[in-house]
């Protein structure tokens, strides 16, 4: 036992001696939470659009004013003709063009119908759909105004309420996601590299021939990473409470407990990777190239998992951060208790036990 304490101390000293890595360990979560929390937003606003107004009459001017005053649009210099559109789209300076035909008001007055052309750059389909909808809504509101004079029957209004995140900020979605992402990647990477480094330098051999038990080697490698990650967790929580106004709504104890479980699971993934790799470069390539993008996508904070094909949905179930993301969302943002997350915690626990068992069984106590 005393041996173990000494070794854990040694690992700590090694971690703290390497200032640059330490900077990454603590700097990365801080920089990411602040940057992503403030910068990322899934709301589409201030889209650059252009108006081609062949009509230049009262109605078109009114509608242009309505569009211009919307926070969703950023009107660019008007174009004289639709011929210039292609070039503007190709340069990527506009997302959409609204075209008023020449006899716009005349049609509206005489036939009671007139059509506005909305041309969207659908190379980004999502933005295209959303901003087209925005314009349609503006036009519809204008239509209602027109018809109110005539007395429209059967008017249905929907009253929409945005729960949990009324301003549609990006932070509530991204903070749990980034938490899951950063903790998972940092834990996996640090553990796998720490163990493989000993192999590469040849010091693993010395450890293995010493009376120190192999299991202790593993524990002494895991403990510093565990503690650093828990400190990181608190830094993230404090930062999001102070800067992003995202306090933990539910039980802090529950959140910390679930996070610890998740951290240990991620450490076990790193342990497993270290068994397969023989060089640091191999371990890093595996944990970075192999895990970064899948973790990013399959955690579910960028793309809804239920939209994916079933193969990927099944695959996503194997990603620990997916379950952790759900837990954080429920406990931190929605303020739910243990009854709402026990299933996810059970899954994490099962993963953790499974991974630890496999990696401990396969941990080679001989080098060749």
């Amino acid at each position: 036992m005393k041996q173990l304490v000494v070794f854990i101390r040694k690992e700590f000293l090694q971690v703290f001696r390497d200032r640059k890595t330490l900077l990454m360990l603590f700097g990365l979560p801080i920089a990411q939470i602040v940057l992503f929390g403030f910068a990322l937003s899934t709301e589409i606003k201030d889209s650059k659009i252009v108006i081609v107004d062949y009509a230049k009459d009262e109605v078109s001017t009114q509608i242009i004013t309505e569009i211009g005053s919307s926070k969703y649009f950023d009107l660019q210099q008007n174009l004289q003709s639709t011929g210039q559109l292609q070039a503007a789209f190709k340069k990527g300076i506009i997302k959409m063009a609204v075209v008023f035909p020449a006899n716009f008001s005349k049609d509206l007055l005489h036939t009671g119908k007139a059509t506005i052309q909305v041309i969207a750059d659908a190379s980004d389909p999502n933005t295209a759909t959303t901003i087209t909808n925005y314009v349609t809504n503006i036009i519809n509101t204008y239509n209602t105004k027109l018809s109110n004079a005539a007395g429209q029957p059967l008017q249905i209004n929907s009253e929409v309420q945005m729960l949990y995140n009324p301003e549609l900020k990006g932070a509530p979605n991204f903070v749990p996601g980034v938490m899951a992402l950063v903790l998972m990647l940092v834990c996996t990477m640090m553990t796998s590299v720490a163990i493989v480094k000993e192999k590469e330098l040849g010091t693993m051999e010395i450890l293995l021939v010493s009376p120190f038990k192999p299991i202790y080697i593993i524990i002494s490698k895991l403990v510093p990473n565990l503690i650093i990650s828990i400190v990181n967790l608190f830094i993230i929580l404090i930062l999001s409470a102070v800067f992003l106004d995202l306090q933990v709504k539910g039980s802090l104890l529950l959140l910390v407990f679930a996070s610890t479980l998740f951290i240990i699971t991620s450490l076990s993934v790193g342990l497993l990777l270290s068994i397969g790799a023989s060089t640091q470069q191999g371990a890093m390539t595996g944990s970075l190239m192999g895990m970064m993008l899948p973790t990013m996508l399959l955690t579910g904070f960028l793309f809804p998992i239920e939209n994916m094909p079933w193969v990927l949905q099944a695959l996503a179930n194997l990603v620990p951060s997916r379950w952790f993301f759900i837990i954080v969302k429920r406990v931190m943002l929605e303020g739910l208790g243990f009854t709402a997350v026990w299933k996810e915690m059970l899954i994490l626990l099962a993963m953790c036990v499974f991974l630890l068992t496999i990696s401990l069984r396969n941990f080679k106590i001989r080098l060749q």
Binding site: D18, K20, M24, L28, A31, Q32, L35, A39, S41, T42, E43, I44, V59, K90, G92, K95, G112, K113, A114, T115, Q117, V118, A120, S123, D124, P125, N126, A128, N133, N137, Q152, P153, L154, Q155, I156, S158, V160, L163, Y164, N165, P166, L168, K169, N173, V193, K197, T279, Q280, Q281, L288, M289, P294, M296, F303, E306, N307, M308, L312, E334, A340
Partner: protein
Amino acid sequence: MKTLFFLLEKEFKQLMRNKGVLRTLLIAPMIQLILLPLAADYSVKNIHIAVVDNDHSTFSQKLINKIASSGYFTLTGSTPSYKQALVMVEQDKADLALHIPAGFERNLVRENNQKLYVAINAISGTKASLGGTYLSSIVQDYNSDIRLQWENGAEDTTPKIGVASYYWYNPFMNYHLYMVPAILVTLVTALAAMQSAFNIVAEKESGTIEQINVTPIKKHIFIIGKLLPFLVLASVIFTIGLILSWVLYGIVPVGNLAVLYASLIVYLFAMLGLGLLISTYSNTQMQAMSLAFFFINIFNMLSGVFTSIDSMPVWAQTIVETFPPSHFIKIMRMVVLKGSGLGDITYHLGAMFVIGIVFNTWAIINYRKRA
């Protein structure tokens, strides 16, 4: 020149010898290119909706049918009270709840005016805003349907402005077209900035860099010898990626391939410069990895792969301007989807080049100091 050739031969041999790493470097991007576009699908289709129908009238039934048959929504349940529907939202069983109050039909007919209540779980912003717009357009459609019925097909005399929408460059709204070019960039990014840094630092760690420093090999030859193999490797991966996206997703660049490759070279020049810079600041592979990870993760999240740069605050947009991937992703999307030419992308190309010059100069200055 001859020295450079020998150095390159050595580097390629070393690269080829390490089969495990090479395999990961080549196969991981392929697998990701196959799987990720399937995952990266923002077009929200199955929005779960819980309906509270306190009216039980023909009108409310019609509305519910219309929502259910729209293709965007899945009815996950109808609960007797609004509170229970909110609980379903809370448990993630429903993304939004629609409340049709009692007396919906009666009030609508008598007073010509009635409200519907919609509550949306807004934690996932995309889903919330898309779900909201879909639902409101369905309700509006429904509104004009019943109005038409009510008036018994009588001529609608009020003036009405219609909207005809056109979707250029991607008329079928295929999301892969948007994602695949960007994912291709992220695959090249990781390789260029990270592996080059590792490679140089590995020489430092094993002490062989000292031997090279005392030989008559010039610094710039050594650096070119280190970076060129990764330029080649990254181009190979890029090419395989282009072929794969053609085979799997049917994406053929509309624009000129030469423009694409020219941009790729400029981009790699910048990213390899970053790798070099990272390597001058680190003494161990661990440090190099930490630094590289720091940048790559931020690049991936902020460069507009997943979220629109336009909706970021201005200060963040300024920061993102200095990220080479944000420019290359724009170029890729413009050239591949819209067929933009050299003239259209000059700004982005120039920006990447300037960033590349800064990284490389900085790295070389810093490198001299230590040697």
